[in-house]
Amino acid sequence: MKERLFKDILPRVTKPARYVGGELNMIKKDWQQSQIKMVFAFPDVYEIGMSHIGSKILYGLVNEQSNHLIERTFAPWPDMESLMREEGIPLYSLESFAPLNSFDVVGFSLQYELSITNVLNMLDLADIPLWAQERQESDPLVIAGGPVVFNPEPFAGFFDAFLIGDGEELLVEFLDCLEQNRGLDRKARLLKAAAIEGVYIPAFYSVEYKQDKTILKMCPEYPGVSERVRKRLVKDLDNSYYPDKPIVPFMEIVHDRAVLEVMRGCQRACRFCHAGTVYRPVREKSVAVLKKQAEDQLQSTGYDEISLASLSTLDYSGVTPLVKDLVRTYGERGIGVSLPSLRVDAFSIDLANEVQKVRKTTLTLAPEAGTQRLRDVINKNISDEDLFQAVEAAFGSGWNSVKLYFMLGLPTETEADLHGIMELLARVKTIGNRLSRRPVEVRASLACFVPKAHTPFQWRPQNSIAQLEEKRRYLMSRKIKSVKLSFHDSQTSMLEGVMARGDRRLAEVIYKAWQRGCKFDGWSEYFKFEQWMASFDECHIDPAFYVERHRAYDEVFPWDFVDTGVRKSYLSDENEMASIGLSTPDCRQAGCLDCGICIDFGVDLDIKEEA
């Protein structure tokens, strides 16, 4: 297979380095000596998949610390896909060039709702039946994990199992269980796996619906299968596995640098944020551990940049000593430090200036909304004052371009809030022009708000495409000279919204959309909205039911069975607070707000440095 690829196939595709494997630090375990053979499948192209930290963690963990093996595969770009189909080449792993259907487990990482059509396409390229119920004893088990599986229901029909929560806590246990029950048939093995906390086997549950199409109840159909599935979480991040020799791709990837995960979780409690709820509580790593991990990774990779990753890195209690230490240690060798996103305050800019001693990074700030009122509604606890101070500090210390992130269609949004965005941009521009010698560049990215499962806004309607388009027109008509506005596609956001709060009846729609050629839906050049709409029509499903409907507090949601540790009553209280425009403080400073995670999971905030 490899010889044929190198000689006949790869010379004919764009970016052949996506498909060759063999990168520095790749681990190729002995096939015969290994127990469960799993392939980690990322449903997007190589350069995106290889940028994902979670994949690096699980790849190293399984290969280095268990008797199982894990290899990698990615979605082939359409030019490669059509050659593979023409030439009869099945989807293969990059380590052994083994076809996917020769593995025991195919595990997909679901980072984004709309990558599901790529999942189907990859299964099809691997000659694995797309529907879980059609798979035979000889077919691999198809599983998934990642943030999307906190509401796995729209994809239930395609997967044999979902692994919910922190994978490094769960995956090896799941594979061990499969190995221990090798003699049993598929269903019996899955029943054994269902007993593991965090494992959800969708085929073992039945769902009944009401007349109004909402859910009446969802119940396990087998004894020993629990009603709710509790996410798994790493309690002590310092002592959990982190790769010291990550793979270094040959080709340029999206995040082409060493990555330190400084903490997991975020305590800011922004009401729109999915990750901020499902990854509670905050768990930090200590500065000493991070310094060691930085040293190991840089030594084994040779990268010229190290990035401090987390949901809100500037909130990491050790961020200042860590950044200063890294800059001091590695600056001389031309190795830079980068901060992926900055908090909106002057402190952040001071720290960013430390980083800039080595390498210039782009200044991005996320006020999310244009007025104080709306920021209170979404609990984005920053003031205009914070923002302008941050911008002054940035332009005053030599930055020349700022990018600001906003959302359109947030709950309670009015024209005044849209107007506020433009006013804010105008003011940022004025500050820049006053403080900078050269003309400053101000850019705004406007995303469409998509209410997500498990957040305080899970009951709220999403703006329709028509509403979002009107807001876009409003902003464009008030455009400020030399401030660039870029908008997320409202049709894509609508479809994301359907999946984010969808149920298992959607699998048929997804299947039909895939049959109609939908794939790479997150890539605007491939997104086929009309084909999706035709598929909804064909299945007699109205997408508005999922996105535009106001949901009642007593409605049973498809994702209610997933126990994230955050109680529904806390979420509804937060939603009520939003209605009256009251913000909620950070539980690090204000004390426990009783969301449920710490008490129910027997954990605590893990903050390393004293404030």
Binding site: F6, K7, L10, P11, P16, A17, V20, G22, L24, V248, F250, M251, E252, D256, L298, Q299, S300, T301, G302, Y303, D304, R333, G334, I335, V358, R359, K360
Partner: protein
């Protein structure tokens, strides 16, 4: 000091683009803790300059780069680099060069491409004799201006055939860079125009890069 190194890029790495190759080398320099020098300015980078671009799809027997660094014996440099380079990549030799030596990009003006050709009764000796006898050898240009016909003949310095058990190998010594850049895929087309079909070609790679001085060809390590 300035150091010029000759390295091999194995077949498994033939799909790397030029920038990928440069990143690979820079990362290896960092892993090996080579005392490289950095450029000044906001965005410092290693003072490394790669030779003529190795086209995507080709592997290379003798490629070159120049590096500025603090003093270090060449032997140590090779050992430390080869310790961290991927198995398909090896520094073959290196030597210190004078500060004023012109860069590789400026002086390399010839390259040897090898084409491994399946035996099928075709008399390759007469094919190359025919090509070398041509007054002009026109092919479609693969460079920037794709619509024009390009005469390769002035850029073909020599063609030779070696017969091996499993296949024959034609080596084409051609001019590169200014004034006439003969690309390997243009040579492939020239072969096709002269009866050597693409299907017969089993592999191709770059054998070496040279500096043509009068009628003589020198390796970049010889003329420093």
């Amino acid at each position: 000091m300035r150091l010029r190194a000759e390295y091999r890029v194995g077949p498994d790495l033939k799909f790397l683009a030029n920038l990928d190759m440069m990143h690979l080398m820079e990362r290896a320099l960092r892993r090996a803790r080579i005392p490289y020098l950095l450029t000044e300015g906001f965005n410092p980078h290693i003072r490394l300059s790669m030779g003529t671009i190795l086209p995507v799809g080709l592997w290379g027997e003798k490629e070159y780069f120049d590096l500025e660094m603090d003093n270090m014996p060449g032997e140590d440099f090779m050992i430390r680099m080869n310790d961290v380079l991927p198995p398909n990549m090896r520094i073959r030799q290196c030597q210190e060069i004078k500060a004023g030596t012109p860069s590789l990009m400026k002086v390399v003006n010839a390259a040897a491409y090898a084409f491994m050709i399946k035996k099928n009764g075709l008399e390759l000796g007469s094919v190359i004799a025919e090509i070398l006898g041509q007054e002009e050898s026109l092919v479609r240009s693969r460079g920037k201006n794709k619509s024009v016909l390009k005469d390769l003949r002035p850029g073909i310095h020599n063609l030779t055939v070696e017969s091996k058990d499993e296949a024959d190998i034609i080596t084409a010594l051609v001019s590169v860079n200014e004034p006439l850049n003969v690309r390997f895929d243009e040579v492939l087309e020239l072969f096709a125009n002269n009866g050597v079909e693409k299907e017969l070609i089993l592999d191709f790679w770059r054998r070496g890069n040279y500096i043509k001085n009068g009628e003589n060809f020198y390796s970049p390590l010889e003329l420093v």
